[in-house]
Amino acid sequence: MGFLVPAFLAGLVALAVPLLMHLRDRNEESPTRFPSLMFLVRLPIRSADRRRITDWPLLLLRALAVALLVFAFARPYLGSAAAVSTGERTRAVVLAMDRSLSMGHGSTWASALDSARALLDGLAGGDHLSLVLFDDDATVAHGWTTDHAAVRAVLETAAPVAAGTRFGSALRAARGLVAAAPPAALEVVLVSDLQRSGLAGTAGLDWPSDVTLRTALVGGAQRANASVSAVDVRRVLSGDRATVQVQARVTARELEAERPVRARLVLDGREVASRELRLTASGERTVVFDAVPAPAGVVRGAVVIDADALPGDDTFHFTVASDDQLRLALVVPDDLARDETLYLERALAIGRAPGVRLERRRPGTLDAATLDRAAMVFLWDIAPPAGAAGDRLSAWVRAGGGLVVHVGPRLGARRGVALAGAATTAGLADRRAGGGAVFGEHRPDHPLFTPFRSTPAALGAPRFFRYARLEPSAGTDVLARLDDGSPALLERREGEGRVILNALPLDARDGDLPLQPAFLPLMRRLALHGSGFESLPSARATGESWMPRGVRREPVIVRPDGGILRPESSAAGPTDAAIVLDRPGFYEAYESRVDGVPRAVVAANVPPGESDLTRADPRELLLGATTSEAIKANEGPGAAAIELETRQRGWRVLLGVMAALLVAETLLGARGWRGQARRATMQNTGETRG
């Protein structure tokens, strides 16, 4: 038996109120008027008698009512104070365990387990516990329970994974758990090496004010680590011989001293080159491997350095795209002049690595097979098809295909023609009389204009005498304009692919661009950028999602460990069939079944930030968080809450008894001689004044 809020017991001072009221005599305020006290003052009456308490029953009733009210506010409870009182109440602890790659450094994971065990040992039997395992994503490994052994069992089976760190994910998962926590002192314990690189994403976190966040820092002072942080791969053609040239960047952090490291280049599982290098205590070294003959098809490569305390970042996986020629489907109108596309075809044929192979098609022949083979569709002065063919083309673009529409005099002469949602035609501009138009402005940072960053004057030479005017749609980027402001090149992203509109004349009749030096690199960049060839990264990071390109139906993914995934694709097509790269290595995508050459291959590596073991200040965790109201206020009572309330509901009984006492006081005060006295007093007073 005790009180939850014993401070309210100070209210017992209020017992003096009824006592003073009885001593003061309420009749002072409504005296009984009498003609003269001439005789009454002669009566031998002691003043003590006049001031004495004359109505003990009423006084006791009132004092008891006040005392009960005070006790009710003090919240009496039954049971032990430890179980009920606010300060010593049951704890509800969210144990958030960092299992990112960096936790595998040296003995860090063992320390983390020790910290977690110590936390579990410190919990009382009735304390609630839940477990969150997090890396760059967070998983509730065990919900709220008082069975600490069950949580301990889950904890013992956990191990670091090859993934990055995102404290934001962990804290949000913990936030979700505390929202459903039983009524108790809420606490989140973060067991982590607290990598600074994992702080991204904590800004904007809504953190309840009544939840305590504690961090258990693990990992010793020794944070020496070396890693392969980046690899630059390119396929180089020397005559007819294709080679692969690989450069790797090796980063060292907080090494005790310089040390030699051997870096090996592995292509398709075979070590093809190796280099020795000396790593400084902290710094980066670039390793340039000799060019090696490129195997056919997609090359799976890796740069590996000697293992250290954190072996997970000592290998960097990458892929090299096959040297197959880019297939472009050039769809030309039926009335195409004989040499109309001559300059374009010749320009695209010149490039190597990759080479560009044009497949000329007529409108209506752009079937699914053609799209499967093509990396880009080039519509020469014709509008994108409508109907089923148009839907097929749109789906193909969203899946990663590239569509380039050249708007020449045929299309430009028709007003209001919709061009794949990127723009509409607005007629033709004829500048033959004024010496022609020139480039007005362009976006030099765009990949399309990469060749002209050092020679921008090259774009000022071409003259354009007759060209189409376009009205860009909302969301369409204008990459270049002519000197009259008319859009010349436009781009619009559609899913994984893109649509590019070109209003520049690509033949020698309406302009002289094909005759200028800028034509060849501009068309080459148009093919590479439009097909998305150059946007394919050689490696991705774990935690990213991957949507394999070129897989049109029933994708099957083989994971690095040999496991097979069959991602669900929606009715809209295979474009939604994406998977999360959850471990380093190579992911291969097939159609329908694992057979033959994979349609797509991607390399995944641990995020480079995971190799940086620089520790953050625990206070930085909630630096960007917003503090919300106490989370317990909006919760409904759980089973434990009902039990708690049951032990505290004595206050209700006290209030009920107090109400009964007040009723008894009213009855007692209004009946018998008290009531008569009251009525007589009131009557006397009223009539006397009247």
Binding site: N27, P31, P35, S36, I45, D49, R674, A677, R678
Partner: protein, 299 residues
Amino acid sequence: MSIAPSTLLDPALLARIADLPLLARTVVDGFLHGLHRSARKGLSLDFAEHRPYQPGDDLRRIDWKAYARTDRFYVKEYDADTNAACVLALDCSGSMDYASAGVNKFAYARMLVASLAWLAQRQGDRVGLATFSEQLLEAIPPSTRHLQMILHALARAAPKGEGTIPVGVDRVADLASRPGIVIIVTDCYDEPASMGRAVDTLRARGHDVLVFHLIDPAEEEFGFTGPLVFEDGERGTRLPLRPEETRERYLALWKAHREALQKRMAASGADYVVLRTDRPLDAALHRYLDHRLSSGRVR
């Protein structure tokens, strides 16, 4: 349906009549009607004296023979007109402002004085009025024509302050140029000795004194219960008491006071009459007429 005359004298009923002259006439007529004898009892037509004519006097009462002799107007006065000079002294102290259940003591006293004035006027007496509390508040000398003034003065009077008879009694005695009847209406909250001395003063001037002691039933019974705080009606002082415990002692003191008053008044030759405010007024009127006849003031 006829109404018994005594009903008309019920103080509770009369208290509802705001018009004091009407009230007084109602009381007196009802009273005289109940006497079943001449309303002109004691009235005499014997010549008493001449007095100079004053504007307003009835021309029929001019003594033309005297005019012929003296060439001046004289009015003949008869004994009936000058039977007695009656001075009504009303206690207007705060203690009079009290009513436990029925009629307020002061209201009762006012009705009583008005009725006595009306009755005296009907009897041919000269009537005067004196109101007093700590001092003499208002004085109207006795006259046969001052009835309306008296009634107006009564209407204006209000109970307030402390009241002691000795303070104003000399002035009351001076009001009447000749010895007459002095009727004191008071609640007698004064020492019997002091009151006796005051009455002695009046008696020494040749006045007959009639003291009406007004009491409220609560003063005589003291039936209060429960712890109460009593407030003095005159001074405002307060006294917390348990009435049940003090009733007997109070009543003993009260009884002793009345007995002392009675003895002292008797010793002074004054007529002492106790009037309860819940009793009709006719007892007081009877007492007045009896006193008037027995005192020999009616010639």
